[in-house]
């Protein structure tokens, strides 16, 4: 639906424009169309869309805004969602454009004059609160006496921040009779700075108002009052004895004192001094602070006296805030006073002053502060240290390190904190006190040396390894690794051989640190050389492991397998700390062949820790964690495995952790893991995931459980609780599977009987070659492929597979009966297997090799994610993308595309293979539309069968195929058009469409691809003309009308959300439209246009002989399907044929 109500200026522009430019532009539409299109677009998803939609909307001016306002329902009764987005968006988008802002504000003003629900009016008043100006004061003032709207309108007025608005509030206050209204108005005035209100407010206060009104009056006077109010407010404060009360007269009084301080400082000084003495008398330190703050701001105040008052009080609140209010450090007299006071035996006074000295970074007071470093009061002591720390500098450093010589257990940690934060070199200062310090001091020095990694202090640290003091020695051992360099290696080797077992571990760490600056080969050379000379070679395994080389690993594995006792343990410890992930295989060997529980436990821990700290994909982590879970003995280990599984983001892990939710000691971590995986991976959503999440929700018990349950609820409400991945292998038997007969092509050539007989035979063989062991599906090494009973089209698939060591390990997954996603042993270089698994092995034209090698070692589980949509395949192996959206060729007939539906097969290739965790998520695609026999006979042709848009051209961004439909998702409010590639003249066109509320589209016929089809061709309206916003349509705008020319009958659309069936017959000048079985239009365009068209517009394309058929988009979502056409070209064809016959 288009045009019609031009405003004059736009009409003028259009007259001079050529029709091509007019097409589909917002100004070319009627106001109600623009508004409807905009509503369909809101809320805007992007900034661009927002800007465009608001531009469109605002272009409709008052008329459009008024339409929106009239569409509003009373709040709380029916939704206003779209209109609220439209109106608030309008308000926000014009706020800073004066001309447009005042149009909007004027419209709100007009609307507020209409009879509307008060809730709607409150909403409109809030718009004026945002963009109103003095011009809207009159209308806002009208509501000031309305109990429901007095609040909103008075608030809108104060938002204007203008004298006139404030005056309107004041005028209303003078007229107000009810106390409730007075409270609204006074409270509003209290939020302004409108001094002129003072006499009225004071007048009200004088008349003994009720409590509620008194409260707001006092606050308001505190804010807007002048000197005149000082007296009354002081009286009110006195009445409460300056205590805090609900009416809070005291704070109103303080407020006004502050406000008038600039105008009448001497008066305020006197009043504030009175207040201070009252506060002192009442022993109210916070009030003393408030009075002092005011006094400090006055020029003639005796500040020293204020300071004296505060210090005399001995109250830490009063002192601290008085000190903070003024920087006395530039005032010699003040400083002197403070330092004298510091000596008084009050810990509160001392604390306040010490902190202040530090916060102000007062200079030359280090010795004064230092006196308090050994105070018996810990608060004072801490204040002194922190104060010094803040002042900083070399003199402070000297004082701080002296503290380390103390034996005071309180002071050393304080000193350490201060020294850690000390900005500068502390090494000299530390060494100067080291020898004179006690154990705690020495230990602290060593910790500081470690923290700053002082290589320069290596000797000091090293020497402590030979003293007769275990605690200092132990600390030194731990410090070594922070100070060593490669030069120290020989000395460290010696030290290692002399150290006791506890310290030896730290020395080993130091050696590794020192080795780390060398290359792996250099490391191996140095370490093996030393090992050869040493009788305690096991001490060097950790150094050997540090190199990370294959030769080091071989030595360690060999030693582990051949030695016993401490030596064996030392190699294990070295392996456990191995840096790279390849150590997982020897560790798995150890756990699998373990002879003792200790061995199982420590190797399980080592693998879990390795997986946790590694940077492997979630898929790889998940595989190894599932593997190691079978060896985990303790709840600690199992909980740890479950925790890490929760970060792997694999569907298999989600299912793997589920049963552990039933084990009391593991349920919380299993639930957390399941929740993390499910919530982070919406693609796993479905029936199974929903069941697990609902179970998780019941189990969760931790401080954040409320948040977590909320997150689960949100996830379940936004994602499907049906479908999802389905297990196609039950782990018990071959239900759902069968043997292989022939191939997809040969099978079609077999008779049903032949096929059945062959199948029986194949099934018998399959049972022999495919076994189930421990829930895994094993191909024994001889026989044929195993196939799903079911045929699949588009799907995602998860499958774990394992090649067993042996001769030529090889396998594969057939998709839709077609070989194959390749699986093989990468060691088989002779057949090119070094490229890795996961490629489309049989492709000839398209890529057949994987993008990278992502295989794990033969004998370990691997995992595939496979997706096939149409003929395109994507494969992830162990979490790595190896096949990226590659066309899979038809191996059985290279000239055919891959079959649309076929079975999944597990390939049999003569070696032992295991499969498990086989899940498929089908991606449903509707059956393509087919013509009925009658239509086929009549000569109909399909224009859209649900699978492709090959017959169409134009805006392919907004129009997409989805679930067998063409759907328009307009990116702009004026949508876009989709045209048939062919042109049609006389035809029968049949299609189905589904509308959204207020939806608008159009069917263009006999139209060129450029220009506005309604004029350069013909447009048959497609419109939800039942929407409230279209109640005032012209007849020729109804659904089905030849737009602007012939009206259609209204009232035959199906309810929103149902499919409508429409037939359009265009034959010469007659157009006939049948909607859901009712003829809603049957007319002759030539006759209708005889005396000018109904819309009084020029329709230059009305009598086109032929043209494209098009969907003409607006702002709304509309779906189309099952589109077919029959052309009448019979006459022409006959003529031609006749001609030919004559020739």
């Amino acid at each position: 639906m288009k045009h019609v109500k031009y405003c004059i200026s736009i009409l003028t522009v259009c007259l001079f424009s050529i029709s091509v430019l007019m097409a589909q532009m917002p100004q070319n539409r009627t106001v109600s169309t623009i508004v409807a299109d905009a509503l369909a677009q809101l809320p805007a998803k992007t900034e661009a869309q927002y800007t465009q939609t608001m531009k469109d909307l605002v272009s409709t001016g008052e008329e459009g805004l008024m339409i929106l306002i009239k569409l509003m329902n009373p709040p709380g009764v029916k939704s206003n969602e779209a209109t609220e987005f439209a109106i608030s968006g309008w308000t926000n988008s014009v706020a800073n454009d004066n001309a447009k802002r005042s149009i909007a504000a004027d419209t709100y003003e007009k609307a507020l004059g209409l009879t509307l629900d008060k809730g709607i009016k409150a909403f409109l008043i809030r718009q004026l609160e945002v963009i109103g100006s003095d011009e809207n004061i009159d209308i806002l003032s009208q509501f000031l006496f309305d109990n429901r709207l007095s609040g909103p309108s008075s608030q809108a007025l104060i938002a204007l921040h203008s004298e006139k608005a404030n005056n309107a509030l004041l005028a209303a206050l003078s007229d107000a009779t009810s106390d409730d209204i007075k409270i609204y108005l006074v409270n509003a005035i209290g939020q302004t700075d409108y001094e002129k209100a003072e006499p009225v407010l004071l007048g009200l206060l004088k008349n003994n108002p009720p409590v509620g009104l008194t409260n707001v009056l006092l606050k308001a006077l505190g804010n807007v009052g002048t000197q005149t109010s000082l007296g009354p407010l002081k009286m009110a404060a006195e009445k409460t004895n300056y205590s805090y009360q609900k009416n809070d007269a005291t704070s109103a009084y303080i407020h006004i004192l502050k406000n008038v301080a600039g105008m009448n400082p001497s008066y305020v000084q006197k009043s504030a001094n009175d207040l201070l003495s009252q506060a002192t008398k009442l022993n109210e330190p916070n009030l003393q602070v408030a009075a002092t703050e005011i006094l400090m701001s006055l020029p003639k105040t005796n500040k020293i006296q204020l300071l004296k008052n505060a210090l005399k009080s001995g109250n830490i609140i009063y002192i601290t805030n008085t000190l903070n209010a003024y920087t006395f450090q530039s005032d010699k007299k003040g400083m002197k006073l403070i330092l004298i006071k510091l000596q008084e035996p009050s810990s509160d006074v001392q604390t306040a002053i010490l902190y202040w000295l530090g916060n102000q970074k007062v200079e030359n007071v280090i010795s004064e502060i230092s006196k308090y470093l050994y105070s018996t009061d810990k608060t004072v002591q801490a204040a002194a240290v922190r104060s010094l720390s803040k002042i900083g500098g070399k003199a402070v450093l000297t004082v701080l390190v002296q503290l380390l010589k103390s034996n005071d257990s309180n002071i050393i940690p304080l000193a350490k904190q201060a020294l850690l934060a000390y900005n500068g070199d502390i090494s000299g200062a530390l060494t100067s006190v080291f020898n004179d310090s006690g154990d705690k001091g020495k230990t602290t020095v060593l910790q500081l040396i470690a923290a700053r990694q002082m290589n320069s202090q290596y000797d000091l640290v090293y020497n402590q390894m030979f003293i007769d003091n275990d605690s200092v020695k132990a600390e030194a051992a731990q410090t070594l690794k922070f100070v060593v360099t490669e030069k120290n290696i020989p000395e460290l080797f010696n030290l290692l051989e002399q150290s006791d077992s506890k310290n030896a571990e730290f020395v080993k760490e130091a050696i590794n640190k020192a080795l780390s600056s060398l290359t792996p080969d250099q490391q191996i050379a140095i370490v093996s050389d030393r090992m050869n000379k040493s009788v305690k070679s096991s001490l060097y395994y950790s150094a050997l492991a540090n190199s990370g080389t294959k030769s080091a690993m071989d030595i360690l594995i060999k030693t582990y397998n051949t030695k016993t006792g401490e030596t064996k343990q030392a190699t294990f410890d070295a392996l456990a700390k191995w840096k790279s992930f390849d150590v997982v295989y020897p560790l798995l060997d150890i756990v699998r062949n373990a002879k003792s529980m200790d061995e199982i436990n420590q190797s399980t821990d080592a693998i879990v820790s390795l997986v946790d700290r590694s940077v492997q994909t979630g898929a790889v982590k998940s595989l190894f964690l599932q593997e190691v879970m079978q060896f985990a003995q303790t709840d600690r280990q199992k909980n740890e495995i479950l925790r890490i599984l929760g970060n792997t983001n694999t569907y298999q892990a989600l299912l793997f952790v589920e049963p552990f939710m039933d084990v009391p000691a593991l349920r919380e971590s299993a639930s957390q893991a399941a929740m993390n995986i499910a919530l982070n991976n919406p693609s796993f959503a479905g029936e199974k995931t929903a069941t697990i999440l609902e179970k998780v929700s019941k189990i969760l018990s931790n401080p954040d459980a409320g948040y977590q349950r909320e997150a689960i609820r949100k996830f379940l409400s936004e994602n499907s609780k049906e479908g999802g991945f389905v297990s196609i292998f039950n782990g018990k038997n071959l239900d759902g599977w069968k043997g292989l007969v022939g191939n997809p092509i040969t099978r079609t050539k077999m008779s049903l009987k032949e096929l059945a007989q062959a199948q029986v035979k194949a099934d018998e063989e399959a049972v022999k070659s495919w076994a189930i062991e421990n829930g895994e599906l094993i191909f024994t090494g001889s026989g044929s492929n195993l196939c799903t009973n079911k045929k699949y089209g588009d799907f995602e698939m998860l499958i774990d597979w394992k090649l067993y060591p042996g001769k030529e390990p090889d396998a594969g997954i057939y998709l839709r009966g077609t070989p194959q996603v390749q699986i093989w042993d990468t060691a088989r270089v002779n057949v090119g297997a070094q490229v890795g698994s996961g490629g489309l092995y049989n492709n000839q034209t398209n890529p057949s090799k994987p993008l990278k090698v992502a295989d794990l070692k033969v004998g370990e589980w691997n995992t595939f994610y496979i997706k096939i949509i149409g003929d395109r395949v994507t494969v992830y192996l162990n979490g790595e993308l190896v096949t990226d959206n590659v066309i899979m060729e038809n191996y059985w007939d290279i000239n055919q595309p891959i079959f649309p539906f076929e079975q999944i097969e597990l390939q049999a290739h003569g070696s032992k293979v295991g499969y498990r965790n086989i899940y498929v998520k089908e991606i449903i695609r509707p059956e393509p539309f087919k013509l009925s026999k009658e239509e086929e006979k009549e000569g109909f042709k399909i224009l859209f069968d649900g699978t492709n848009m090959h017959q169409w051209t134009g805006n392919a961004t907004d129009y997409v195929t989805e679930n067998g439909n063409i759907v328009i998702y307009p990116s702009m409010s004026f949508g876009g058009n989709l045209y048939t590639k062919e042109e049609y003249g006389d035809f029968v066109y049949r299609f189905e469409f589904q509308l959204t509320p207020g939806a608008n589209n159009g069917l263009g016929i006999r139209t060129p691809m450029e220009g506005d089809a309604a004029y350069v061709g013909m447009e048959l309206q497609i419109l939800d003309n039942e929407a409230p916003m279209y109640k005032d349509l012209h007849e020729y705008q109804y659904h089905g009308s030849v737009y602007g020319v012939i009206p259609a009958k209204r009232g035959f659309l199906k309810p929103i959300g149902e499919w409508n069936y429409e037939e359009v017959v265009a034959k010469g000048d007659t157009i006939k439209v049948t909607l859901n079985g009712t003829v809603i239009l049957d007319g002759n365009i030539r006759e209708a246009a005889k005396n000018g068209t109904a819309d009084k517009q020029d329709h230059p394309g009305l009598f086109n002989k032929k043209g494209h058929i098009a969907f003409l988009g607006h702002g709304s979502v509309v779906k189309f399907r099952n589109i077919r056409i029959k052309e009448w070209k019979m006459v022409k064809i006959f003529k031609r044929r006749n001609k030919n016959e004559h020739i």
Binding site: L42, V77, R126, V130, S154, N223, Y244, Q245, T379
Partner: protein, 418 residues
């Protein structure tokens, strides 16, 4: 007077068994730490955690929902005072510290009132829901000399949420200058931050009868009157602009405040905020893709909503190096190099000690105001769907009258913050 405190200190055995509120000793005279008392306003959700915060004993509670009050009171063994009007709790002489765990639209008024009554304050995040209220709160604390603590703690402890590192070593690295300047910090799900996007509002709430246990008028307080619906109140309030700002309001200060500390912007504000977000409903808070803040010196804070953004984006990006999740830094040999630098200055992280010594808590009304301002600037930009420029000195938006009207939102009678 000092002798009285001294007396109490020496008779420790007696004081162990008696709760002596500070007010009994005279304000400013400090009882041993186990004797500080608290009153909690808002005990529906978060407020109940405040019962268990260490170092103080709960002596009073207040809620406008009678059910909440009864349920929360049952969690405490001792007999305590129960109120429905927060001002009565503030007036309670037994209360030393007022805890505020209401929806954010009350934080400003309640903090200011408590400050005027001379109470110390322990307030939930976000500090306030407008910039203007934050400013007023800061003034009130200054004027009355109270101790104020905001309840988020990542600037001084814990590896905050999924980042995998506490803030201290990051601060040390930044302070060392090894990353260069200016820095860009990206806060997103990729680094473990979860904006809790389920705190979004519904665009339509039908009118429902107010339950009899709830004083809805008092619950709304200064906020505009809107018909009652259960989704408006209690946990769901976070989804409505009148009371909060969704995940940005609820979680924003948790994530932003430590970054403000890291960047050393505790007394500064950004000069620009840009948003990339769908249009926001005037009442209900929606989601957003990103919010970008820029400081005068070029430092930036980027917030990424939901799954937006790339996983390999550094948490902190500087011209000389980057830092990723779990403290992965791409400067060669950075640990060794960093060790030579001093640790960040010690922060006052013991609230009880701060109440005793009257020293500002690590996260107080001043730096809390600035990080709340970052949150609130973002909320204003989201609501208006546009880029805003800000003047940190005048503390107002530049050339945007509408945005400035959102600095101080008019309050419904009889409420006013002054």
């Amino acid at each position: 007077m000092t002798t009285r405190r001294h007396f109490l200190k020496t008779v420790g055995a007696l004081s162990l068994f008696t709760i002596v509120p500070r007010s009994v000793l005279g304000r400013g005279f400090i009882a041993p730490s186990d004797q500080l008392t608290k009153g909690i306003i808002g005990v529906g959700g978060m407020g109940r955690n405040h019962i268990y915060y260490d170092g103080t004993r709960v002596v009073a509670m207040c809620d406008v929902d009678k059910n909440h009050l009864t349920q929360a009171a049952a969690l405490v063994k001792d007999k305590i005072n129960l109120y429905s009007d927060f001002r009565d709790l503030i007036l309670d002489k037994n209360v030393d510290i007022v805890h505020i765990a209401t929806p954010p639209h009350w934080h400003g008024i309640m903090s200011v009132e408590a400050a005027k009554a001379g109470k110390d304050i322990f307030c939930e995040k976000p500090m306030t829901r407008t910039i203007g209220e934050g400013k007023r709160l800061m003034e009130a604390i200054q004027q009355n000399g109270n101790i104020f603590r905001l309840n988020t703690w990542f600037r001084f402890k814990d590896p905050f949420y999924g980042l995998g590192t506490p803030v201290k070593p990051l601060k040390k690295l930044i302070q060392s200058g090894m990353l260069g300047w200016p820095l860009k910090v990206t806060i997103s799900k990729q680094t473990g931050f979860d904006w809790k996007f389920f705190w979004i509002g519904k665009n339509y709430l039908e009118s429902q009868p107010v339950p009899k246990e709830l004083d809805y008028d008092m619950w709304l307080g200064p906020a505009p009157y809107k018909p009652y619906n259960v989704h408006r109140v209690h946990q769901n309030f976070r989804g409505y602009w009148d009371y909060d700002a969704g995940g940005l309001g609820d979680m924003g200060q948790h994530y932003i405040d430590p970054v403000q500390y890291l960047l050393g912007k505790d007394d500064d504000s950004p000069i620009k905020v840009e948003v990339d977000a769908p249009q926001q409903h005037p009442d209900a808070v929606g989601t957003w893709q990103s919010i970008t803040y820029t400081y005068k010196d070029g430092c930036q804070i980027v917030l990424w909503g939901g799954d937006y953004g790339k996983p390999d984006t550094p948490y902190i990006a500087g011209p000389k190096g980057n830092v990723y999740k779990n403290f992965v830094c791409d400067i060669p040999d950075w640990e060794k190099k960093l060790a030579g630098y001093p640790e960040p200055a010690v922060q006052n992280t013991d609230f009880i000690e701060c109440v005793h010594t009257r020293q500002k808590f690590a996260l107080n009304e001043v730096n809390g105001y600035h990080s709340a301002t970052i949150v609130n600037m973002g909320a204003v930009a989201l609501r208006l769907n546009r880029t805003l420029n800000y003047d940190p000195i005048k503390q107002e938006f530049i050339n945007d009258a509408e945005a400035n009207r959102l600095l101080n939102q008019p309050m419904r009678a009889p409420w006013n913050i002054n």
